[in-house]
């Protein structure tokens, strides 16, 4: 059956020159739905997926992508035009899988009709010469032909074969099994479409976003609470579930000795949340244990430190105050952060530098950090004065994590070197020239919370599970035909058993051996 599409295309191939438009269309359709095209489209799909794994992807890692863009100024615009920074959302990638789906449906639906007819058909008559089949065996017996055939029918039925109804004058039994293989194959291919539908629903109507939440600060689930938000094409902000939540407390289980010292065994957030009119509820949010609110899910995926910093300006007013998110530079959580105080008078003040959870001074006078539980926090920052360029029209550089120092000057200390403020919690440093002062109050934790809505995920899951079931049927149900012929001759009966594996993949010699044995055994009893 698998050969038919190919056979057909070959025939139409030769006449391609003299086709009417309609025939041409039909010819194209047959080409598209042939096994060979499916095969090539599958390989194309594999190939098309490759670039996305080597070129940074905008949606996956925008930071890396912008770095790449900067490093390759000539290539970047070309890549942009080709959609190489968003391979899996690009037109050409979609073209491949949509063609594949069309080909699949065009291939599988017609097969369903063929199959429905075949499933009701009787096993075909025995070929005249069973000896011509590659796998067959014969033996002699004293039993009469009719008796042999009756037994053969019983033996075959017992083994799950469908047996052709007996008719007068038959000298052979025809049997067939493995009808469900085709069902499995159809189920598998149709389920692939189901998976794609579920997947597409997630991409169209869902969203994925992340936010950094400082412990103790309430957050509302609205678009502007997010640091990054990747909405589906048809997602609307109104679809966001209304709720507020607060990370009340956060703990890390540090490994204090043995292998893995300085890393964490795990971390958890104690969260309270409230849906619009609901009552307050609590949840212990951990990695691998998301919280579900309505159709939204919250995931804890990372953490870090937010030193609470207060900047007073030259006039004694508070120009900046609050927990400041520092971004980890590595697994030891040595973190980098910036402070911007544009309202400071007489001059704007900016700070950037490192936060050491556990700081030690090396013998050479360098600062280093010891991984693990924070034991000796230290803030070490450089100071800038002047224009922080916060009003610039192009605000791309105005990420809260980046200080624009192009128009500012670095503040110098009394020794004429660049000033570095090294502060422990509770300490305050006065800035020179009456610029003001900086206080490091204390440290709080922040959590990175990923929030998403993924409609269609159940559909996709059901799809793959069905696909797997279908696949198992398609791969392991061995459709085969068996014939047993009994011919009188030489004073007894010559019995010939032959079998044919319809997939061409199986080895039927053992099947024949077993059948012959079973038939012979029946005779003894």
């Amino acid at each position: 059956m698998t050969q038919t599409p190919d056979a057909r295309t070959e025939r139409t191939d030769r006449r391609a020159g003299e086709l009417t438009p309609r025939e041409l269309l039909r010819w194209a359709w047959r080409q598209l739905t042939s096994m060979r095209t499916a095969l090539i489209l599958l390989l194309l799909l594999a190939l098309a997926a490759v670039p996305g794994s080597v070129i940074p992807q905008e949606n996956l890692d925008s930071l890396e992508t912008s770095r790449w863009r900067e490093a390759h100024p000539t290539l970047a615009p070309i890549y942009d035009r080709l959609g190489l920074f968003d391979v899996y959302g690009s037109v050409w990638f979609a073209a491949v899988y949509i063609l594949l789906m069309v080909s699949l449906i065009g291939c599988i639906l017609p097969r369903t009709w063929v199959y429905l007819r075949a499933i009701r058909a009787e096993p075909p008559r025995a070929p005249r010469n069973l000896e011509r089949l590659p796998d067959h065996a014969s033996y002699d017996t004293d039993l009469g032909g009719e008796a042999v055939l009756t037994r053969a029918r019983a033996v075959l039925r017992e083994r799950g074969y469908r047996v052709r109804a007996a008719a007068d004058g038959d000298d052979a039994v025809s049997a067939e099994r493995g009808y469900l293989r085709e069902v499995g194959n159809l189920l598998f291919h149709l389920s692939v479409v189901v998976v794609l539908v579920g997947f597409a629903m997630g991409g169209l109507f869902g969203y994925k976003g992340g936010m950094i939440v400082v412990v103790g600060t309430p957050v509302a689930n609205t678009p502007n609470s997010y640091d990054d938000l990747v909405p589906g094409t048809l997602f609307q902000a109104e679809d966001m579930d209304p709720f507020v939540f607060t990370v009340d407390d956060f703990d890390v289980e540090w490994i204090e000795d043995g292998p893995g010292i300085g890393t964490s065994r795990g971390f958890a957030s104690h969260l309270t949340y409230r849906e619009r009119d609901g009552e307050e509820k609590e949840y212990r949010l951990r990695v691998n244990h998301p919280l579900k609110v309505g159709s939204t899910e919250l995931f804890l995926i990372g953490h870090g430190y937010a030193p609470v910093i207060t900047v007073r300006d030259g006039e004694g007013n508070i120009a900046y105050s609050g927990p400041t998110i520092f971004l980890p530079q590595g697994p030891d959580l040595l973190s980098f952060g910036v402070v911007k105080a544009p309202d400071a008078r007489p001059e704007q003040i900016g700070l950037d530098g490192l936060f050491f959870p556990t700081f030690v001074m090396t013998p050479d006078g360098d600062l280093t950090n010891v991984p693990g539980r924070p034991r000796n926090p230290l803030l070490s920052m450089s100071v800038y004065r002047g224009d922080l360029d916060m009003d610039a029209a192009d605000s791309t550089s105005q990420s809260v994590y980046v200080l624009d120092t192009s128009k500012a000057t670095k503040v110098e200390g009394e020794d004429g070197k660049d000033l570095r403020l090294d502060l422990s919690p509770g300490e305050t440093a006065e800035l020179p020239d009456g610029l003001g002062s900086v206080t490091f109050e204390r440290v709080v934790d922040w959590n990175r919370i990923q929030i998403s809505q993924t409609p269609g995920k159940r559909i996709a899951l059901a799809g793959v599970v069905l696909a797997l079931v279908g696949l198992l049927g398609s791969l392991f149900i061995r459709p085969r035909r068996v014939w047993v012929r009994a011919v009188a001759g030489g004073g007894g009966t010559l019995v010939t058993v032959a079998a044919l594996d319809r997939t061409g993949g199986g080895d039927v010699t053992t099947v024949i051996e077993e059948l012959v044995e079973a038939l012979a055994e029946e005779e003894k009893t």
Binding site: T2, R36, L42, E297, G302, L461, V464
Partner: protein, 327 residues
């Protein structure tokens, strides 16, 4: 026993296993060289018989002795090779179990690249021993044992990592079920790949002393297919069912197009193409076998190569630095 003892036991056991696999390889090489000698000997005999019209009972004298001696020698070294492989397998198992017991808390022994490689090669070796009779795999012995020795060496030299606790995102029941299926499929695909590679070689050089021992092309193709047909659904289960479920729990989205996922998908698609090729006229046989090898290449590239290629993978087991998510 303390954790450190278990860890030391694991390291010793893996060294022992490696040594035994190597001995098994030597035994099989002796077996095969004797075999090559036998064939030459037979060829010489027939040629002499045909050429001279005189029946020559013994071949040219050589230090391997007479034909039946040689037969015996081949069989003896084949048996020794298999027996030593089984011993190696036991040591290999001890190494895996001890590795799991060395961790605190105890855990499954596949939390990093070193452990994956150890577990994956175990599946290859165990699969070979388990299917030895059923699929008559005697001829595969040097290939499988050689591959396992090589991979174990790579693991011990380059991938070794002291036993540590699992990173938080790995700490999930899905680790067991997802990784068992992935490693199982990887082992099986690798066995299948060896068969397909042999198929291609035999296609080019169908005769010769060594090749005559290798099964017929049709049988190679069929066995390769059956192993791939086993591995494919297991792989489907690993990367398209349990993987996404776990990814959803750990990272909030069941499919991220993360490089590991992309390559797992590529592998899946290539093997789907292989299965199609086997039932498409013009693609059967040679092209299908080639596709199986492409599939195996993508599989191993994903397993090892992608960790060095890509910085964005969230699959952090290869690299402790990735434990902290970049915001």
């Amino acid at each position: 026993m303390s954790d450190a003892d278990w860890s030391a036991l694991s390291n010793t056991a893996i060294a022992v296993a490696g040594g035994l696999y190597f001995l098994a390889l030597v035994a099989h090489l002796v077996e095969w060289s004797a075999l090559a000698g036998r064939r030459q000997h037979e060829t010489a005999t027939t040629e002499a018989a045909e050429g001279g019209g005189v029946a020559v009972a013994t071949g040219p004298a050589d230090d391997l002795g007479s034909g039946s001696d040689r037969e015996e020698r081949v069989a003896r070294f084949a048996r020794i090779g298999l027996a030593v492989t089984v011993l190696a397998l036991v040591a290999h198992l001890v190494a895996l179990v001890a590795r799991g017991l060395a961790a605190d808390p105890n855990r499954v022994p596949w939390g990093n690249m070193y452990e994956f490689t150890m577990a994956g090669t175990f599946v290859v070796a165990a699969g070979y021993v388990g299917l030895y009779r059923r699929f008559r795999l005697a001829w595969m012995a040097p290939l499988v044992v050689g591959l396992v020795v090589t991979l174990l060496m790579v693991a011990v030299i380059w991938l070794y990592n002291p036993v540590g606790p699992l990173s938080d995102s790995l700490n999930s029941p899905w680790l067991v079920i997802h990784v068992v299926s992935a490693v199982l499929a990887t082992g099986a695909f690798t066995l299948g790949g060896i068969l397909s590679a042999t198929y291609l070689v035999k296609m080019r050089r169908p005769v010769g002393p060594i090749m005559s021992r290798v099964p017929e092309l049709a049988a190679l193709d069929r066995t390769a297919y059956r192993i791939h047909a086993f591995a494919f659904p297991v792989w489907t289960f690993a990367v398209l069912i349990t993987g996404p479920i776990w990814a959803h729990q750990a990272w909030s989205s069941y499919w991220n197009w993360d490089p590991k996922e992309v390559w797992a998908f590529i592998t899946w698609v290539v093997y789907a193409a292989y299965l199609h090729a086997r039932s498409t006229a013009g693609w059967k046989g040679r092209n299908a076998a080639l596709l199986a090898l492409v599939g195996m290449a993508t599989l191993w590239f994903n397993f090892i190569g992608i960790n060095y290629f890509s910085t964005t993978s969230q699959h952090s087991y290869a690299d402790a630095a990735a434990v902290v998510e970049r915001p």
